[in-house]
Symmetry: C2
Subunit: 115 residues, 2 copies
Amino acid sequence: MSNAAFTIRALSALAQEHRLAAFRLLVQAGADGLAAGSLAERLTIPASSLSFHLAQLTNAGLIIQRRQSRSLIYTADYAAMNALMGYLTENCCAGGDCTTDTACEPQLVDERKVA
Amino acid sequence: MSNAAFTIRALSALAQEHRLAAFRLLVQAGADGLAAGSLAERLTIPASSLSFHLAQLTNAGLIIQRRQSRSLIYTADYAAMNALMGYLTENCCAGGDCTTDTACEPQLVDERKVA
DNA sequence: ACAATAATTCGATAATCATCGAAATATCGA
DNA sequence: TCGATATTTCGATGATTATCGAATTATTGT
């Protein structure tokens, strides 16, 4: 039973320009993650604003924070991301003509032609 | 090249209790869709409130409206949904240790032990 | 044309959210 | 311990969002 409350929080967290951009940078950064300062620089927003957004993403369970010396490093939580995807596609196409269509295939996840 | 503006609008549209519930009902309903009145009844919210939410979902391109006699029938737009998924998982795990992890696998889509 | 049905738009109100400078907290190197 | 660096918390302000009754628009059958 997927949790609707988690889903709402996750979607709310991602439904904002700077947070979506930050999350995507973290997804691309992989396990190394990125420091808050680095994110603020790339997004060109004040540190306090970014901090607010990172708190939302953390609160939603989408990113994880760890300290490394003076910096706070953030990483994407892929498991949470997958849980979100799962909830959104759950019971997809019960109507019946999904199998013959472009619809509801998780194929896009494989499209990472990444290194 | 996925459009960030579309993604923000789609996520904002889904990041609300009643809209997420409505969208999920439509996803399950398939091509037949559901009338506005039927949705209002199932969600137990006033028609005017629902109408506001359906407008947001339509505006975000996530659902499609068609008229059938006196009723307006809404259906989920699966292509838009897939575009959204694609954008969210784009460049997933560039960090490198994704292939060895739990990360970025679409496996959760199968976790629906619903019914 | 009229009454009934189905849904949207309008408008006011309450609630939540984003922004960012200033102050506070944590860590490190000397 | 002191100064510098990295980041968060606080607080005030402006902006956006959700709610829902009443009025409006669209469609149908008679």
